[in-house]
Amino acid sequence: MARSRVVITGFGAITPLGLTVGDMWAGLCAGKVGINTITAFDPSGFNCKIAGQAPEFKIRDFVPKTHRKATKLMCRDIELSVVAANEAIRNSGLITKGIDPENVNINPERMAINLGAGLISCDLVELSPAVAASKNEGQFDIRKWGNIGLELVTPLWLLKYLPNMLACHVGIIHDIQGPSNSITCAEVASHLAIAEASQIIARGNSDYALAGGAEAKVNPIVMIRQCLLQRATTENNDNPSSSCRPFDADAKGSVFGEAAGIIVIENLENAKKRNAKIHAEIAGTGQSTSINSAYKNLEPDGYGLQIAIEKAIKEAQIEPDQIDLIIPHGTGIPCDDMAESKAIHSALGEVASEIPVWPIKSMLSNTGAASGALDVIAATCAMKENKIPSSINCDNIAHGCNLNIVKKTIEKEIKYALCCSYTHGGQTAAVVLKNISE
């Protein structure tokens, strides 16, 4: 049975650069930085006090009336995914129950959803009164918790923090009855979600899918973990706009943030039949894993990432010199950036030092399970606009990173773009996008 080609027909993003894909692209083009001093909580006791925070919004404005009550069960990660999904579906021209219940033009059973999600941390302020009520002589007393504290926890508390609840809420709002999966592989989660959803469509199990990811890392527990693991930069608290410096000689660590990026994908025939605007084709995906006993970081030679890139290129049936743009994972953690540079070189060979590389976490921050989808959306925008905006904060490339970081905006047709990613557990992924505009 022939496998269907899979194309992107819609996208949505809420990021530190704004509430929409338009805001994100305009910000990226202007070299705007979405990183600032944390306002979600008082960060003065943290050694990293900055993060990428999304603009304020009211979730009730983004859900149909029938789902308003359920917004009480949404943690921040869920809210972000609902906002981005709403934009993605509207952008695609598909009409779901959540957009207009009178004029639905999808078959709910033929639509899939596949979202990457992070390790969702609870709202400490919400939980704290119950913990405080379980105090005995200055210590937490588990028996008192069972007697008193537990009763103070809101009955549906657990449901707010299960990673599958992103896809659950979005699926209910838009009446998506096909396969639903929630990939929990940190920073590669949304690349994997996009890869898996593409495979679901390619093999004919669904006609269209929502795919991507969301994560809200501006949470005290998440931020303290990044500090403890020495991933977050602690030396740039006073200079948020120059804090995240992928591949730069002065890089001191990453900066974390919150975002959601979601795309609508469907099989090419279906998209053509309904005259959808086609943003790009998912031409190839690849994945592998880094194997490093010091698994806090990527293996130094980048081999696991190299394999993922090679697989994606092979699946796209192209040669390395056909790639016009690379959006790397590029976190600003020096040893990881170096390993990624090696992986790109090993996978692509000589042309690796020529292909424009555009790291965007310097502006968007590292948004975990959302980051891969944001890269795919940014690459798609670049294809549509025939433009690679200038990168920022890479003034002197780090020794050993031999990449052609985009220093000045490039205006040209982009036929193929490569996005790649990895996690601090080892999983690696790559996606090749193809420009099929005529």
């Binding site: 059973e109 918790w145 009955p155 508390w157 999966n181 929630s182 500090c227 080892g426």
Partner: protein, 436 residues
Amino acid sequence: MSERVVITGMGIVCPLAHDVETLWQALLSGKSGVAENTLFDASTFPTTFDAEVKNYDFTKYTKNIELHKDSSRGSGFAIGATVQACRQAGIDVEVSEPNDGIDRSKMGIYLGAGEGSIDNDAFFSAIIKGWNSETNQMDWIKWANQSFDEMDPIRELEQEPNMAVAHLAMLTGARGPVRSCLTACAASTQAIGEATMLIRHGNADVVIAGGAHSMIHPLGLTGFNRLTALSTRNDSPQTASRPFSATRDGFVLGEGSAILILESLSSAKKRGVEILAEITGYGSSSDAFRVTDMHEEGRGAALAINAAMKDAGVTIDDIDYINAHGTSTAENDSIETKAIKAVFKDRAKNVPVSSIKSMLGHLIGAAGAAELITCVCAIRNNILPPTTNLNDPDPELDLDYVPNEPRKAQVNTVIKESFGFGGQNNVVIIRKWVDE
């Protein structure tokens, strides 16, 4: 090109056993893995019992103890289950140059794996230090100071749900597609289903697939107790999990890991390993109904069962046995029964359905994989495992639930159903291996 997918190895670490054969014998003798909670003091919780993995030592399975010593409970269980499964399938572990005929770039890992427990002492003490009960505000400076003092970086990292697959990659050298999903109670069935697709369509030759999870920790138990999802039959833990009975009052929280080696038929034949069963069908759907409830008529469940049968190319007449999700909650068992009736119509009462959660408890993310392993045993032994504690049948629930005693039967084709909180439904179909 479409590859047939077979199972060539199985391993388990669960409340009833630390190997598949012992588990199977325990299920046939109706043993229960449920007892008082010993992992923390739950004496004042609404539920004081659970199904724990007992006397398990992961260091028996690895030479690199240092590498795995900080892993979460779930990851630790996965190490044992994976080593067992790899041994059976003839897959080398912890060797730098494997000699098992498997290209590591075509060996994947796909787990339905849960997050690890938070570091309870550090977590609660930081809140106590930081929270001001008079102003109802957190002093984040105090909270952060205490957290920096008490939290261990590696223990925090090991809570990430992708760490179980990371440990398995280090153990086996797998460099193919590595994914981890967490669709609540349906996660490992989904992982096995999607892993099957990776092999069928040529993305991998071998996938180490299954689940690993433990939510037996104070906040996990709190969350499920608050949802009133758990049985509170504290005076009789071993009879608490009673799927399909009139007096069922919730599920029993369990933990563990179950791993299956999925392999393309051509790879298994080339390597000359024993084939335990074939995976022929996978179906996945979502309820898209309510955050808190399953669809009243089991619409999503029926859709997934039908999709799996279509994928396997079988009809309702071909199904010899259904291994149920059967959680022992009022809602699940009733709606699962409705879904089976909707799909099987007149034949529904003639298809045996059983839930081993009656003995094993509910392994959450790992449940589907553990139950699928027992389906393979059922096929290989032509015996159906029973639903125990079924002494007071619910008059509304009138299928053949194989009550209390195992039953001899010709078992060729089996359906495994798993349904997750939030409405993900996943169904896998396996059948007796016939070389044709």
